[in-house]
Each structure stands twice: as structure tokens, then as C-alpha cells.
């Protein structure tokens, strides 16, 4: 199965090579400009040394810096048995030699990331908010995604690539700054004035363009890797729906306000970018593909869970491109059937259901209008809402606010005359009177008409 990452490794080498070339070229240009013709080599060497030093720092300090700045603490099995078990299960499913260390970040945010230099000393960090909100299958999906990152060697690539981008940015900064200050020995250098001007122009241009290019390459690749990790998760768990609904739950609360504690530089590492505003957004500079798209791909796998199935779903949803899975793997594999959801322990579900019922009752008492959405969300329409429709916060479907309509075709004066409302179900139901007041219909209600308490008009009820 691990042929899937062969293409990934090849691509990584190419990309790192490309970025390295940009870096060395930039160094050479700076050398040429500062010292003269003999400075090119020195500049290139200097760039390489800079890169090596930065790399050494990152590798020596290692994942501890990342974990520390995210506020993660290492846990043992007793602290969070379910999480621990999920990590162990996914370690087995992925065939990873050694179980990653498990970290928890305290807080209400919902997110997770993996880090480490190589698969043998990797770490998985999960926020405590995530552990609380996800059920077993969802948590498993998230962990499988992170282990997918470890298995696909994404964490190593991410470290290498970010160091290279960092070096390029640093060099560009130096170029611009030295230009500002009048730069080096260029006045004493007796060369062809024109050649020097050309070098200066090129150096300047590269100094501006290189960081942008490097970053775009890096980000495009990091987005592809998210897809690949999703595909891995589906394959490990044999249950794409787990990750899909987990992603949905996570993205509902992401956005700057909730995730304020996350350092900017760590954003690309998380399963869902904590700084990305909402479900749909994706641009050239985003580190993650849009969550909505990822969820749609996972749900389009149609009861299957293999690499091939992910690739097919990817084509159907995105319409173009590939999901970063090696073609050899695709050809040699058949589709894999997904499993059924795990039965959740009862008590929690029961308690949740009861709490929800009580909540609904209270909502009705304060005249909130409830609209059930097919995706499972109950939309609460606030009393003063002027619009006639409201979108579902989870799936985006538009719902018309149920309203009593005037029964007479040509009403003489607005605000008078009888109204009519067609019931949609036999159960609890709420709708809006023409005057704006929300009215409740209980399941036991058997009358043919009711009177609005505010405008005193009669509303005729017709059965569903």
C-alpha cells in the first residue's frame, strides 16, 4: 500500500530541489552584486550555509518548539483512554512501526496536528475541545488523518520546505535592506556600468519574486497533502464518514475569534486551518483545501474506502486534477468496501437527547421558531428576523420561514381578514403569523383554527 507515497517522495524531492535552486541562485546573485564576478560562488555558498544552519536549528530543537508554542502537554493512557486507544488502533491499521506520542492542548478549540522529524519519533496533538465533541468514529477519523500525515512523510517535508522558504524570505529581506542602505562596495567596483545595472535589476526582481514563488509552490503542495491524508484516513478506518463529520464539526467553530490562541506560523499544521475564515474559502495562499470540498469528496466515496474510490470521488467533486495518489497504486488496487459505524455507548446519547428536549422546550417558551433541516440541525430563527428565508449553518440549504398566509386572494386592507396555515407534520411545529409573532402548535393540537395572541386574527389550520 505504501507505494502510494512513492510519488509523494519523488515530488517532495523535486520541490525541495526547486526551492533550493531558487535559494542558491538568489545567493549567487547577491554575491555578484555585492562583491563582483568572483562573488557569485561565495554568495551561493553563503546561501547554502545559511540554509544548513537554519535546518540544524530546526532539527535540533525539533518538535519540542512546535509543541511548546502550541501549549501541548504529553499524556499517558490514563489521562484520555479513548484518545489513546484511537491512536493505537490507527497505528496498527496504518502499519506504522511505533506508536506516536500523544499530546493534548487544553482549551475549547477543536483541532489536531501531527509533528516530528521522522515516523519513528512523531507526535500527535489533539485539543481537549475536540476530544469532548467528537464521537469515537470521528475521533478515529481525525487521528487517522494525522497518522496519514506521518505515514506519508508530510511532517518531514513540511519542516524541510518551511525552512527553505524561510531562508529565501530571509535572503530577500537582506537584499532589500542592503539596497535601501546603499549597499556594499558597488561604487568602488570598476566594471561595466550596464552589466552591473542588469545584475542589480535581476537581484531586485528575484528578491521580490522568489519568496512569493517559493510560498506558492509550498502551499500548493501542502494542499495536495491534505487530500492525500484524507484518502489515507478513509483507507485506514474504512469509514470516510467519520472524518467527514469530524471536519464539519471542527470547521463550524474555526475562524479567528474562536482560535485566537493559535500562533500564526503553526496554522498550516492543523487538520483544519484555524485561521481560515469559513467553510468555503480557498485561494492561492491558503494552506488547506476548503473544508467543504474535503467533506464533499469524502461523502462522494459512496460506501467505499480505498485509494481508487477517493480518486474517483475527487474527480467527481473537483472535476479536474488528481488527488496526489500514485498512479501505480491506483492501477493495482480494487475498491475497498467501507465498514458500518460503531455503536456509541448509550448513556451519553440518552443524556444528550434529554438535554436537547429541554432546550427545545425553553426555546419554544421564548418564541424561537425552529426549523428542522434534513442534515440534522435544528435551525433557531430569532424573533425579530425580517427575512423570509434562512440558510442552514451546517449544510447551507436555504429554508423558507413557515408563515401563515392570507386566505382571501384580494385582501382589502393589510392586517385584517383571516389567515391560513398548512401544517407540515403531526409533531411540534412553529410558524410565523403575518404580524410577525411566532406561534407554536403542539403534537396534541386537534382544532381547526387558532387565534394569534398579538393581532387577534383567526388562523385556519389545514392538516399536512
Amino acid at each position: 500500500m505504501w507505494e502510494a507515497i512513492r510519488g509523494n517522495i519523488r515530488r517532495s524531492r523535486l520541490l525541495i530541489g526547486l526551492m533550493g535552486a531558487i535559494l542558491v541562485g538568489q545567493g549567487a546573485l547577491i554575491g555578484l552584486w555585492l562583491v563582483g564576478p568572483e562573488g557569485g560562488l561565495v554568495g551561493a555558498l553563503g546561501a547554502v550555509v545559511l540554509w544548513l544552519v537554519m535546518l540544524a536549528i530546526v532539527f535540533l530543537a525539533g518538535e519540542q518548539v512546535v509543541l511548546f508554542s502550541a501549549g501541548a502537554r504529553q499524556i499517558t493512557k490514563q489521562d484520555a483512554p479513548r484518545l489513546w486507544n484511537c491512536v493505537e488502533e490507527m497505528t496498527i491499521a496504518s502499519g506504522l512501526g511505533k506508536m506516536p506520542r500523544v499530546y493534548v492542548i487544553d482549551g475549547f478549540q477543536k483541532n489536531a496536528f501531527a509533528t516530528g522529524r521522522k515516523p519513528e519519533n512523531a507526535c500527535v496533538a489533539v485539543t481537549s475541545g475536540l476530544i469532548r465533541t467528537l464521537n469515537r468514529d470521528e475521533l478515529q477519523g481525525v487521528i487517522a488523518h494525522e497518522i496519514g500525515h506521518i505515514r506519508n512523510l508530510d511532517i518531514r517535508f513540511l519542516t524541510l520546505a518551511s525552512v527553505t522558504v524561510g531562508a529565501i524570505v530571509l535572503l530577500s529581506d537582506m537584499t532589500r535592506r542592503s539596497l535601501w542602505l546603499g549597499g556594499g562596495r558597488r561604487r568602488s567596483y570598476k566594471g561595466g556600468g550596464q552589466a552591473q545595472m542588469a545584475i542589480l535589476a535581476v537581484t531586485l526582481l528575484v528578491g521580490i519574486l522568489a519568496p512569493i514563488c517559493a510560498r506558492i509552490i509550498y502551499l500548493a503542495c501542502s494542499r495536495k497533502r491534505e487530500y492525500l491524508a484524507d484518502a489515507s484516513a478513509a483507507r485506514f478506518t474504512r469509514f470516510p464518514e467519520g472524518l467527514a463529520s469530524a471536519l464539519e464539526k471542527i470547521s463550524l467553530t474555526t475562524g479567528a475569534a474562536v482560535q485566537a490562541g493559535v500562533p500564526r506560523t503553526l496554522a498550516p499544521m492543523f487538520i483544519v486551518n484555524p485561521l481560515q475564515a469559513r467553510l468555503g474559502s480557498q485561494g492561492m495562499f491558503s494552506t488547506h483545501p476548503s473544508t467543504r470540498e474535503r467533506v464533499r469528496i469524502l461523502r462522494a466515496m459512496g460506501g467505499n474506502a480505498g485509494w481508487v474510490d477517493y480518486e474517483r470521488a475527487f474527480r467527481r467533486v473537483v472535476g479536474k486534477g488528481k488527488a496526489c495518489i500514485d498512479s501505480v497504486t491506483i492501477e493495482s488496487e480494487k475498491s475497498v468496501t467501507a465498514r458500518l459505524p460503531t455503536a456509541e455507548p448509550e448513556p451519553r446519547q440518552e443524556a444528550l437527547g434529554r438535554a436537547r428536549e429541554v432546550g427545545d422546550l425553553l426555546d419554544r417558551m421564548v418564541h424561537l421558531l425552529l426549523i428542522p433541516c434534513p442534515c440534522g440541525v435544528r435551525i433557531k430563527v430569532p424573533q425579530g428576523l425580517k427575512r423570509d428565508s434562512i440558510p442552514c449553518p451546517r449544510c447551507g440549504r436555504d429554508h423558507e420561514v413557515p408563515k401563515a398566509r392570507s386566505s382571501a386572494a384580494g385582501e382589502s386592507a393589510p392586517g385584517t381578514g383571516p389567515l391560513r396555515y398548512r401544517r407540515r407534520s403531526e409533531g411540534w411545529e412553529s410558524f410565523r403569523c403575518a404580524c410577525g409573532r411566532t406561534l407554536q402548535l403542539s403534537p396534541g393540537l386537534r382544532v381547526n383554527s387558532i387565534t394569534c395572541r398579538k393581532c387577534r386574527r383567526t388562523i385556519e389550520l389545514t392538516a399536512a
Binding site: 483512554p81 479513548r82 486507544n85 484511537c86 488502533e89 496498527i92 502499519g95 493495482s332 448509550e346
Partner: protein, 184 residues
């Protein structure tokens, strides 16, 4: 002279290539052997959990003797079973017996609220999952290994050094082929 040199270089290249393929095959074989032993580890883990579980349930539901004894017997049979086929059958019986026990447990709210029982329940769920996933990982690695031993050019090397096809872990009874699931 040049001809010899060229020949030498060619031989070195081919030798390197053969070594590469051979090592790849060995790696895959070890991987699948490792995955196989992982299944055993997880099955043993389940055996180890059961006495504890039975003790805990006894404290609250002592008169469900028959169900409890069935679990104990099934465990004993599973521990003793030898051979893939027999073992698979015994484990299947054990899964069934555990399932019935968990069904019985439903009627004892006190037991369901017991922290010790809840921990055991989580462990049991996880172990069942692990058994399923280790099987899955084994089959995945066998498929990869078999594909490699059969496809050109690695099949030549595989034939030369006797890399034999491995069997998938499949239980004849279709009911046991799914990931065993205990309903709580």
C-alpha cells in the same frame, strides 16, 4: 580493456538492481509477518481482558451465571485453539459470547454506571477494533507482497530466492469476516 570495464560496470549495476529488489521483497515479507503477529497480540489482549470483565459483571449481575460461564468457556477454548482455522472459529465464538454478555448487561444500570466497567468496556471496544485493524493491515501487506512477487521483473528474483505467496486472512464463515462488533 574498455570492453572489460564496460562489462564490469554493467555487472555492478545489475547486481545493485537485484539487491534492491531483493531487499524490497524481504522488507515486504517482514512487514506482513509482523502484521500477522500483531493479530495474535491483539487476540491475546482480549483473552487477558475477559477475566477482569467477568469479575466486574459478577459483582452486579451474579445470577447471570449461564452467560458468564459461556464467556469463560469460550475464552478457554480460544486460548487453547491451535491452527488458523480452529483459532478463527474459537475467536468467533468468543465474540458471540461477549456480545450476549453485553446484551445482558443492558439490564443493569448500576453496572453500566460503574467506572471500572466503563473502562473495561472502552478497552474491549478498542481491542475488537484492533483485531479488525490488524487483520486489515495484514491483508493489505500480503496484497502488496503478493503483487510484488508476481509482477515483472521482481517475480524473477522472487522465484530465485523462494519468496512464496502468502495467504490472506479470511474466515470461511461470512459472519466473522466483518470487523467483530460488540453492541453496547
Amino acid at each position: 580493456m574498455i570492453a572489460i570495464l564496460v562489462l564490469l560496470v554493467l555487472v555492478v549495476i545489475i547486481a545493485g538492481w537485484v539487491v534492491g529488489i531483493y531487499n524490497g521483497l524481504v522488507r515486504l515479507r517482514n512487514q506482513s509477518e509482523n502484521a500477522w503477529s500483531q493479530i495474535d497480540v491483539q487476540l491475546r489482549r482480549r483473552h487477558d481482558l475477559i477475566p477482569n470483565l467477568v469479575e466486574t459483571v459478577k459483582g452486579y449481575a451474579g445470577h447471570e451465571k449461564e452467560t458468564l460461564e459461556n464467556v469463560i468457556k469460550a475464552r478457554a477454548r480460544a486460548v487453547e485453539a491451535s491452527g488458523v482455522e480452529n483459532q478463527a472459529r474459537a475467536e468467533m465464538d468468543l465474540t458471540g459470547a461477549l456480545g450476549r454478555l453485553m446484551l445482558v448487561v443492558e439490564q443493569y444500570p448500576d453496572l453500566k454506571a460503574n467506572q471500572n466497567f466503563l473502562n473495561l468496556q472502552e478497552e474491549l471496544t478498542s481491542t475488537e477494533n484492533r483485531i479488525g485493524y490488524s487483520r486489515q493491515a495484514y491483508n493489505d501487506s500480503v496484497m502488496q507482497y503478493n503483487t510484488r512477487t508476481q509482477s515483472f521483473p521482481s517475480n524473477i528474483i522472487a522465484g530465485m530466492f523462494q519468496f512464496i505467496r502468502r495467504e490472506f486472512f479470511e474466515i470461511k464463515d461470512s459472519a466473522a469476516r466483518e470487523v467483530p462488533k460488540v453492541q453496547f
